[in-house]
């Protein structure tokens, strides 16, 4: 098992499963056993234990899951081996920005597992900035399609590259929502290379984005940050259970 596989197992066991189960209880209290939550998951066929765990715990079922991978070859493998439906061949963060994207018709989802580490990310500058913008576009889509509450999981690789907070602010502010505040980066240290600072920044920015789309009720939010054994960085996963006001 590679390092990233064992880390993903820990994320599932110590963070994702509990919050997804709580999501089932809070969002669908009348569904006593089978919660039947619709899920979008960024994943790959050889490291997708979340599928079996979520299905085993009756929070979702195979027919309600759409897998995504940026490589068509991998999406095909997911579809023929693990799921009823998989999409991809596009970088998710780019695809979700497109108003004609093929994924749009599938929204809204109850669970969004945006695990960017599963997409063979290129560790280049402004990767996290693009991912955060992808999350904002995803939440906007959820909101536009009338979603009332969701579990959102964001997983990424933190390296020593500093965050470009101004870029995040500029891009986020360009998605204008009437009556909503612009993103504030006050109090966050830009050019930070320290991962604890980065986590604080990312959590703060995500919280503001939740609020921008009226997901004001954060029922639960948690995170885990685990070091990759090859020293190339840390895996950060933030999981939130959100309801709209």
């Amino acid at each position: 098992m590679t390092d990233i596989d064992s880390i993903k197992n820990r994320l599932i066991d110590d963070l994702w499963l509990s919050i997804v189960k709580e999501g089932g209880e809070i969002l669908y209290p009348k569904r006593k056993i089978n919660k039947q939550m619709k899920m979008l998951t960024l994943t790959r066929h050889n490291n997708c234990r979340e599928l079996e765990e979520f299905i085993k715990n009756k929070v979702t079922k195979k027919e309600l899951i759409i897998g995504w991978n940026r490589e068509t070859n991998e999406a095909i493998r997911l579809e023929v081996e693990k799921l009823e439906s998989a999409k991809g061949g596009y970088v998710y963060e780019d695809a979700i920005r497109d108003s004609q994207s093929e994924i749009q018709d599938d929204f809204p989802f109850d669970i969004l597992n945006l695990d960017f580490t599963s997409q063979k990310p290129e560790l280049e500058d402004e990767r996290i900035e693009k991912e955060i913008l992808g999350i904002e576009n995803t939440i906007k889509m959820q909101s536009d399609k009338g979603n009332k509450g969701m579990v959102l999981i964001y997983t990424t690789i933190l390296t020593s590259t500093p965050l470009n907070l101004q870029k995040i602010k500029r891009e986020s502010d360009s998605i204008w929502i009437q009556g909503r505040d612009r993103l504030s980066t006050d109090g966050f240290s830009s050019n930070t290379m320290d991962n604890n600072n980065k986590i604080r920044c990312i959590k703060g920015i995500l919280t503001q984005i939740f609020s921008k789309y009226k997901y004001n009720h954060i029922v639960n939010i948690g995170y885990l940050c685990l070091e990759l054994s090859n020293g190339s960085g840390d895996i950060l996963s933030i999981a939130a259970l959100l309801k709209r006001s």
Binding site: R70, E71, T72, Y90, D94, A95, D98, E102, E124
Partner: protein, 261 residues
């Protein structure tokens, strides 16, 4: 859903099912065990279409045609793996034609809609005689007029190296060769006098593999020249992958010179 049970199949269907299973498995395993590395190289070239797909996301025609280009290349491997060489080549011609259409339609959105919504197979708008079988007009002259292609062809020099240099060479030559499989030209049959079922053939595989590689290379060249601005805006990692893996040494320098990168 009705469970699939071989024993419940009608007699002749059952026979076909069982024999197909056997020859497909035999051919697939033989092909992969002898040529796994060659196929891996082809897959690496095909995977690059995902990079194009993301980069050309805003272009409607690309969104529809690039997945089709990918699938033709992918299925061609499938057919070749089963020793269905004629159909493996047919997929490649379909792939090449779709890629050329993509470059043409990317600047002809009205024609694209006509073509896409043409329920009656009404080709009047582009095909008035047999000289005009393609949506882009007579033979390949449309492409030869495109600035980037014109400049690229000049840098290539000899007809043998040009994309549209002579009947036997480049895209023209490849297209003609692949069409032989569509029209079952002499020597381009699926069947062999000595056999009744498809069987792995090393020489046939090598011919197909060589042609497959060329088709992917020419398609990447056409996309780079047809979508030069988008190509230039790619990350250097992705650009280099397309140049090194997709196109390779035969044309890499001419591309760089043409685009000034």
């Amino acid at each position: 859903m009705v469970a699939f049970k071989v024993k419940d199949l009608p007699v002749e269907t059952k026979k076909v099912h069982e024999s197909q299973n056997i020859w497909r498995r035999k051919n697939w395993e033989k092909t992969l065990s002898e040529n796994g590395n060659d196929i891996e190289k082809l897959i690496d070239k095909i995977r690059l279409f995902d990079t194009w797909k993301t980069k050309l996301l805003k272009i409607d025609v690309a969104k529809i045609l690039i997945p089709e280009i990918f699938m033709d290349a992918y299925v061609s491997i499938h057919f070749a793996g089963y020793a269905l060489y004629k159909y493996a080549h047919m997929s490649l011609r379909s792939e090449l034609e779709t890629a050329l259409r993509l470059v043409f339609f990317s600047t002809h959105s009205i024609e694209f809609k006509w073509w896409l919504n043409d329920d009656n197979n009404d080709k009047d708008w582009y095909s008035t005689t047999s000289d005009y079988p393609y949506v882009w007009g007579k033979r390949y002259s449309y492409f030869e007029h495109l600035e980037n292609i014109k400049s690229f062809e000049k840098k290539c020099g000899d007809d043998e190296k040009k994309l549209f240099g002579g009947k036997k060479y480049g895209i023209k030559g490849l297209y003609t060769e692949l069409s032989e499989y569509i029209h079952s030209g002499r020597g381009h049959f699926q069947t062999r006098p000595d056999r009744v079922s498809p069987k792995y053939d090393h020489d046939q595989f090598e011919i197909w593999c060589y042609i497959h590689e060329k088709v992917q290379m020419y398609i990447h060249i056409m996309l780079v020249l047809g979508f030069a601005e988008e190509f230039k805006k790619m990350s250097s990692t992705n650009r280099n992958k397309i140049l090194d893996i997709g196109i390779g040494d035969d044309y890499k320098e001419e591309i760089k010179e043409t685009l000034g990168i």
